[in-house]
Structures are given as C-alpha cells and as structure tokens.
C-alpha cells in the first residue's frame, strides 16, 4: 500500500486481528507512519467463504472512512539517548532498569547488564570503528545500526569487547541477506531464526565451542554471549519485536540465538568460509536463517554411501511451495566428525557429498504440497499446473527432489564424537562477512 500511496493514490489494507500491531510497526519501518488500514477479527486464510464475506461486511464503514476522510498524523515518541534509574543501591537501580526494559520488551527475558557510559566506552575499544559509524539499516525494522547501538546491546548481553567485531559483522551480514535481509521471512508467522557460524582464527582466539556447540553451560559461554548480543541488536536495532515485526505463531527456542564455530580441525574438507570465497586465515561469521531442526541419527552405517543415504532421507521433511519452478528448499547440515571423516576419507569431496545427498533426497510431492490445497489457490506456478489433473493417490506416488540442486545444501562440520547430524531447513542463502576488518 505504501507504494500506491507514494504514487499519490489512497491505499488501505485489510488487516487481520493480531496483525494490527504489525501494521503499526511496518508502517513506521517502511516510511509512512500514517498509512491507513482497517481491522477484521480473523486471518482469512483458513476461514470458510461465508465468514470471509461477513467479517469484511462488518469492516466496510471503516474501509470507506479510511479512503475518504482526512488523516491525522500518528503521534511519534521522541528518542532519548540515556535513561536513569534511582534505587536504594546500585543493585536495586539495576533491578529497576531490568523491570522497565522488560516492560518495554527491550530484553529477552533474562537479566540484562546495565549499559553505563563507562561500560559502553570499554566495549567500543573492541573495534576500530567510531561510535557514530553506520554499519547498516538492520532488518526487518530497518533501525539505524550505529557501532554505538551495537555496543550498547552487546554490553547488555554480557559480551566482551573482543566479541564486538563478530557482532558487528553479523549485523552487517544480516542486512545483506536476500529479500532485504530476509525481511519477509523474519516477519513471518513461521519461526525463522538466525544461526551464526564463525570460521577462521577467531574461533580459537575467542574460545567458541565447535563441539557440542548448541546449548547452555560453561563450554558454550562464548557461543551464548555473542549470540545473545546479536539477538539484542536484532531486537532493539532491527526492531524484531514479537507481535510487531516478528509474527510467530508458536515461536522457537532458536530465537535465543547461538553463535557457534565450525570444527575445522575435525573436518576432512576445507572450511566453509573458504567455500564462500575467503582465505583460510581470515575470520568470518556466516548468518543462516533456519526454520526448524532435526536430529538425523545413524545407528551403524560406516560406509560413506550408507551415511549419506541415511542423511539424505533425513532431509526429506517439510513442505514445498508451488509458487515457482524451484522448490525453494535449502538445508543447513551440521555434520559431526563421525560422519564427515568417513565420508571424506572414502573419497568424497564436500561437493560430491552434496551431490550424492541431493540425488537421494527425494520426497512425495503429494505429501510436500499437502499444506497448500490447490483449490482456491492462485499462487501455483504454471510449471506445476499439471499436478491439478492428478488424483490424490497419483500425487503421493510422484517424487521430486527436495532441493533444486546440490548447492542448495550447506555442509559444515560441527559437533562431538557420534554420528548424529543436525539438519535445518534454511534460506535465503547464507551471507558470510569478514570479521577482521572490524577489529582494532
């Protein structure tokens, strides 16, 4: 609608129920705070036709008003640089700060460190960039990501100055993701969440855990702190607030974002950042957007082909959109050393392993498209129109590749000893950003 308004024509969106706060946030993010909309109670997508009509009829007066009445500008709150909290002692004042921050949804629910001027100044020593340097406009809300704002959120997360270049690079990488930083995905009602993966010398210098890397505890402290710093940036700079610009239906614990390292020492192949065009001696962070997670167990295969066939079967879950000729499916594969090592030593390059997985990862299109009934659906691409002539049984019997090509899966070696692979539906394609350029 903003595009229509920019053409000088009145535009109104019909917004469903809980999406009104999303409309408020989106209108600000996309530069037209007084954009007009009307609200109906329920999301149309799963309503019967009669209810679609009646809830629209109930909104018609509002719709006419939005198209024909003059518009009052929405009130804007003035941004402040600092906040003050008075308590009986320092700890009490920090508690008060935490309470207000959580009331305003500026935190992740866990205890926040106070970003005092002294702590922020110390954090800023972690980079060569000046505080007012603009790294990017961070999606999905396109907040202006200055180095200072990134530092403030990093302090709140409990991160250290040496972590700051990783956080800056990750923020930059997110803004480079396809589709304006994966904007539509990040705002989706599905639980997409970023995962950060570091390569190069920084992994050991910082103490990132490349083993049993996803989870809480001592071994993953650095993974957690850097991931949390990025997550708070995402929230307060990217304005990725739940029910505003993050419209998850159920949500996911993956939004407690983790930053892990590739287990380069245990890999038979070159590191992922070299695949992405960087030198092995450079340090990088890659941002993947994941949409689910599956543990693919292997209970006895020891041949490369056996391990890869089992893994390929593990990739065949999920759904497939018919909106384009391409399946649109990507998979991030965190392959433990007990799978990668035999595959590599039995002669498979990483590319050959990806091609073998792609060849064997096929699923029933009848199952993959079950989530999107063809009837009443305008988004089926001409490429798939022939499916409309098949019976349900025939659809179940047609198999298609889960991914369009081998390069739609990404293999990184991560993990401790045991042949259990983590597979994530992912996409858009990951972005890798150098870290060294942001170091002091």
């Amino acid at each position: 609608m903003i595009m229509v308004e920019k053409m000088g024509k009145p535009g109104v969106a019909i917004v469903s129920g809980r999406f009104e706060s999303d409309a408020v946030a989106s209108s600000r993010a996309f530069g037209m705070p007084d954009l007009q909309w009307v609200v109906v109670p329920h999301i149309y997508r799963n309503l019967d036709p009669e209810t679609c009509r009646t809830q629209t009829e109930d909104a018609i007066d509002d719709l006419v008003g939005s198209l024909t009445s003059s518009i009052d500008a929405r009130e804007e709150t003035e941004a402040v640089d600092t906040r003050r909290y008075e308590g009986e002692d320092r700890y009490d004042s920090i508690l008060k700060m935490n309470q207000e921050f959580i009331n305003e949804d500026l935190g992740d629910g866990l205890f926040l460190q106070p970003a005092t001027p002294e702590a922020v100044a110390e954090m800023l020593k972690g980079t060569n960039l000046p505080p007012d340097h603009v790294v990017c406009d961070m999606p999905p809300g396109f907040g202006v990501a200055t180095v200072e704002k990134i530092a403030i959120n990093s302090v709140m997360a409990g991160a250290k100055p040496e972590h700051l270049p990783v956080v800056i690079a990750a923020v930059k990488a997110l803004s480079k993701l396809g589709g304006q930083g994966g904007k539509s995905l990040l705002m989706s009602t599905s639980p997409q969440a970023p995962l950060l993966i570091v390569n190069g010398p920084a992994t050991k210098q910082l103490g990132l855990n490349p083993g049993s890397a996803l989870g809480p505890g001592r071994d993953n402290q650095i993974n957690t702190l850097i991931g949390r710093a990025f997550a708070l940036c995402f929230r307060n700079i990217g304005h990725w607030y739940l029910n505003k610009m993050d419209m998850d239906t159920i949500g996911t614990s993956r939004k407690f974002i983790q930053c892990i390292a590739e287990n380069e020492d245990a890999s038979p192949w070159q590191p992922f950042h070299v695949d992405q065009g960087f030198e092995a001696g450079e340090s990088t962070v890659s941002v993947f957007v994941t949409d689910g997670e599956l543990d693919v167990q292997d209970q006895g295969n020891h041949t490369a082909k056996g391990l890869l066939k089992n893994l390929a079967y593990g990739l065949t879950f999920g759904t497939m959109s018919l909106q384009s000729p391409r399946s649109g499916q990507e998979r991030l594969i965190l392959m433990p050393p007990d799978v990668a090592r035999p595959v590599g030593t039995q002669g498979f390059s990483k590319q050959e392993a990806k091609e073998y997985i792609h060849e064997h990862a096929r699923g029933s299109i009848g199952k993959l498209m079950q989530y999107m009934p063809l009837e009443g659906e305008a988004r089926v691409h001409d490429h798939w129109k022939w499916l409309e002539k098949l019976t349900e049984q025939q659809l179940l019997e047609v198999t298609v590749p889960i991914m369009n090509d081998a390069d739609d899966c990404y293999i990184l070696v991560v993990g401790a000893d045991r042949a259990k692979t983590a597979v994530f539906p992912s996409g858009p394609a990951p972005v890798t950003e150098g870290i060294d350029q942001y170091m002091p």
């Binding site: 595009m3 917004v15 018609i60 907040g143």
Partner: protein
C-alpha cells in the same frame, strides 16, 4: 541512594527519519475506479470482491479492477499497475 544512568539500546528507524505522509483522500468514491490487490492466498479474494461489491452498492458509477500476481508479497509491477489505473486501492495483508 544510587542513580544509574544507562544508554538507550533502541535505534531510530530509517523509515521514521525519512517518513512521508499518506496521500490526500477524495470526499466521495462516486465515479472512482477501485483497485483490489489480492496476494493470492485463500480467502483474500473473497474478502476483496465483497468489499468491491459493497462500494459499488454505496456509491454511484464505481468501477472495480481486480489484480493478482499469484504470489506473496504481490509483485511490485502489479501494485504499480493498480496505482496507475485506479483512483483508490484496497489490499489484504496477512490474509
């Protein structure tokens, strides 16, 4: 007593810095061309068509154009076409 001062973590949004106003509204929809943009998902077409019918019942000489790009979000070319051909436009978001 202790006074704690902390920095604000919230970044101003580029869209707020560069905000523009919505366009002027007509007094009436009489003799107007109404564009209905459907993102292609279930139910949104029914809602938009019903809205178009009701506007035609309320106002004189209202024409309705229905647009769909068969995709989500609606392709910019379709939105641009609607903006060029119509006097007002209605869309359904999160439909």
């Amino acid at each position: 007593m202790h006074l704690l001062e902390v920095s604000n973590p919230v970044a101003v949004q580029r869209g707020v810095l560069n905000a523009i106003s919505a366009s002027n509204r007509p007094n009436s929809l009489n003799n107007k061309m109404v564009g209905l943009i459907w993102s292609g998902t279930h139910g949104g077409d029914i809602a938009l068509k019903r809205a178009g019918e009701m506007l035609q019942e309320r106002y004189d000489n209202v024409s309705v154009n229905f647009y769909t790009g068969g995709n989500y979000p609606t392709p910019p070319a379709i939105v641009k076409q609607a903006g060029e051909e119509c006097d007002v436009v209605i869309g359904a978001t999160a439909d």
